[in-house]
């Protein structure tokens, strides 16, 4: 048992934090108000090497372990970088590029990973459909083999980065009768005839990520773009879980730390009834609960991340616990932060307002809290 980060990991976290605070966070308020993806922020993330963090150097990455990737996400959230930009990063690096890196052929890796790692190309992953959310195995997008090509038909929704993406990792079924066992993954490039993306959705939070539907109409994909072989898609979708439930959650942890710091400063400065509001136990209670949440969520996230780094089998209960706790309680804590700020917390110029909207996603994206409880309870009842 050892809960410590290495000196290298700590140094990296501090460097990313300072960079995020000084270079990126100042851009976020305006980008969030516009509700648009920011190429300026994207370039900053790329310049720091963050978009290719987990990939080996020969593929243009930094060779970071999962714990380090989580530390980067935490540090950026802590620095005040908005949830949307970090979601765009997560979907790009962990959902798209990581899947190509883990399941792609040598050719596929060489072709896609370096350009994704540098940020020249933007990546996305398409799993969810209008009629297949938590029940992803019921997807209706089909792929039919025709000579040396697969023809895709169907649609995807809530696809982060889709409106900007150059590379789409897409799941479709080649045999509906086989249910999840027929699901197959493909790499589809922007500009492929029959591939269309919808208008970006207007979202409650994480506004700086661009999210839309994706449509396939007789979209022909060459067979060399098959990812992980026929019927290998479900395995790919499931194997992303440890990335999903550690690296994609870590920015939310960082945002909670940021929120606690904002509240800590405000509670010292703000006076009512002739004393700083920190003197009121109702305020103290919220501060304490935020701190406890941060410590518990931190343990849950880095337990998932370090087990992957240590080559241990992912414990699905640990991954689900992390997701449900960070999602549900993280949002409660973001709400308490708004409460400490009172009327100011309701104003868009205060980052706790943005944190509150952004935090709502953690209990929804990548498996809802309900699904997490379903996973945990089913294993308990086995």
């Amino acid at each position: 048992m050892d809960f410590t980060f290495t000196d290298e990991q700590k140094m990296f976290r501090d460097t990313v934090y300072r960079y995020g605070r000084d270079e990126i966070a100042p851009l976020c308020e305006e980008a969030d108000l516009k509700g648009e993806f920011s190429f300026e922020i994207w370039k900053k993330l790329a310049d720091m090497g963050l978009l290719g963090l987990p990939f080996p150097e020969e593929l243009g990455g930094s060779g970071a372990d999962v714990v380090t990737c989580c530390l980067a996400g935490e540090a950026l959230g802590h620095a005040g970088v908005d949830g949307g930009s970090l979601l765009a990063w997560g979907a790009h690096t962990y959902l798209c590029a990581c899947n190509i890196f883990s399941f792609g052929t040598e050719e596929q890796k060489k072709k896609y990973v370096p350009k994704l790692a540098s940020g020249e190309w933007i990546g996305c992953m398409g799993l969810t459909e209008p009629g297949a959310g938590s029940d992803a195995a019921s997807m209706r997008t089909t792929a039919v083999k025709k000579g040396d090509r697969y023809v895709l038909n169907g649609s995807k929704t809530f696809i982060t980065n889709a409106p900007l993406a150059n590379v789409f990792v897409v799941f479709a079924t080649i045999d509906k009768a086989k249910k999840h066992e027929g699901i197959t993954a493909f790499i589809v490039e922007k500009g492929t005839p029959g591939l269309e993306t919808g208008q970006p959705f207007h979202k409650m939070g994480c506004k700086c990520s661009s999210t839309s539907e994706v449509f396939f109409e007789d979209c022909e994909v060459p067979e060399e773009n098959l990812l992980g072989g026929e019927n290998g898609g479900w395995m790919i979708a499931l194997s992303g879980v440890e990335w999903d439930r550690s690296t994609l959650i870590s920015p939310f942890l960082g945002a909670s730390i940021y929120g606690l710091e904002l509240c800590g400063r405000y509670a010292n400065e703000r006076h009512q009834f002739n004393r700083p509001i920190r003197k009121f136990q109702a305020v103290q209670g919220r501060i304490a609960d935020m701190k406890v949440f941060i410590e518990a969520a931190r343990l849950a996230i880095y337990r998932v991340a370090s087990s992957k780094d240590n080559g241990q089998m992912l414990n699905p209960m640990q991954a689900a616990v992390n997701k449900v706790y960070a999602g549900d309680v993280g949002f409660e804590m973001a709400s308490e932060a708004v409460q400490i700020f009172g009327g100011y917390g309701f104003m868009q110029e205060y980052p706790v307002e943005r944190n509150f909207r952004d935090a709502r996603l953690a209990a929804i994206g990548g498996g809802t809290s309900d699904i997490m409880r379903m996973i945990v309870s089913r294993i308990m009842l086995m």
């Binding site: 048992m1 800590g264 103290q284 304490a288 701190k291 309870s377």
Partner: protein, 384 residues
């Protein structure tokens, strides 16, 4: 970074668990229900069994206290019988721990090995009617009379007092007693003149733990822990900070029992032909029990690790863990009761007992309100 137990830690966990299931768990209900005198005898026997098996002093054998071992043993003993753990902890960790940390070599030699084998039972008497979380307002006094100190005052809710061979008593030093107005922990042995232990307190839960009011009327004490007067407050504070780890192990132990029993029930009990656990109303309660219990354990072990390693924020992590696990234990016991419904409301059932036992975690040794104040002020001071 690695969250797994070492092989030695795993072995300790397995050994304590196997022993306690066989030797301790069967007595849990008797300890809850039995008449006072029988309960005391049974508890002494339980402590002796644990002592003989070598598990009572887990974590205290080495040169320094190993709080991870303390945690591991604590959770397993609690799973078998919550009362037994709290009684064991009061003796070995609270009383023995103070002696280990601050006692003179002679005091350690005289008491510690005996306490770890339960040849002697210890108690720690500090709370008073008007001095709970606010220890500084203790009013029990100590005055010097020749070679000895003479104690006067009343200590409230003292665990183990009636079965104790040695009590550590916190008292304020009177003029001329050395370290004026400071506090000291006095070693008072069973049968000391002026020591009056009234065994009249009936508790809601943890009924196997004898809890008493201790009256000191010109009670003679020959020794101070460590020999130097005026250190009592700091010594007590230290053991209470480290003690958060044990309370977390208690909370998680109770939580685990609740969760395991509720899970078994949800598998076996059917409604409209299907196990009730398959209904989300029940299944999701099980999931929440698991989540809060699991995170409570991680926080407890994290705090234990931090204290072992001497990390700067170790005490705050202890407070976070105690706050979280204390409130979680109440929540989990409540959910378990709900899963059992009427079947858990019956006297003599495990859930009925655990529900009462669980409530202790949130109120003992710095209730949740105090932990929140400590944690919040620590955070808020960073931004002054």
């Amino acid at each position: 970074m690695n969250y797994e137990f070492t092989e030695e830690q795993k072995k300790l966990q397995q050994d304590v668990a196997a022993f306690c299931i066989k030797e301790i768990a069967p007595e849990a209900q008797k300890l809850d229900e039995g008449p006072r005198e029988e309960v005391c005898k049974l508890m002494e026997r339980n402590l002796k069994k644990l002592g003989k098996a070598g598990f009572l002093g887990a974590g205290l054998e080495g040169a320094a206290i190993d709080l991870i071992d303390c945690y591991i043993a604590g959770e397993e003993i609690t799973k078998a019988c919550a009362s037994t753990y709290i009684s064991a902890r009061s003796s070995v960790f609270m009383c023995g721990g103070i002696l280990k940390l601050f006692g003179t070599p002679e005091q350690m030699k005289r008491f510690l090995p005996a306490i770890m084998k339960a040849e002697m039972i210890g108690a720690l008497a500090y709370t008073e009617a008007e001095a709970g979380s606010d220890i500084a307002s203790v009013s029990t006094t100590a005055r010097k009379d020749g070679d000895v100190w003479v104690l006067n005052g009343v200590k409230d809710v003292v665990a183990n007092a009636i079965i104790a061979d040695v009590l550590l008593v916190l008292a304020r030093m009177e003029k001329g007693a050395g370290s004026e107005d400071g506090m000291s922990l006095f070693i008072v042995e069973k049968g000391a003149r002026g020591l009056d232990i009234n065994d009249s307190l009936e508790t809601m839960g943890l009924r196997g733990v004898p809890v008493s009011v201790v009256k000191l009327e010109n009670c003679e004490a020959k020794e101070i822990v460590g020999g130097e007067p005026g250190k009592g407050y700091e010594q007590l504070e230290r053991i209470l900070k480290m003690g958060t780890v044990g309370i977390v192990s208690f909370c998680v132990g109770v939580g685990t029992s609740c969760m395991e029993k509720a899970t078994q029930h949800a598998k076996a009990k059917k409604s409209s032909g299907k196990p009730i656990g398959l209904y989300q109303g029940v299944g999701f309660k099980l999931a929440d029990m698991f989540t809060y219990n699991d995170l409570g354990r991680m926080l407890g072990l994290r705090a234990a690790w931090a204290m072992n390693e001497g990390e700067n924020d170790a005490d705050i992590l202890g407070s976070c863990a105690k706050l979280f696990a204390g409130e979680s234990a109440t929540k989990i016991a409540n959910l378990a009761m709900q899963v059992f419904a009427g079947h858990g409301y019956i006297k003599g059932t495990d859930i009925e007992r655990l529900y009462r036992d669980a409530r202790f975690g949130e109120i003992c040794e710095g209730p949740s309100e105090i932990q929140r104040t400590i944690i919040a002020n620590n955070e808020l001071d960073k931004f002054m």
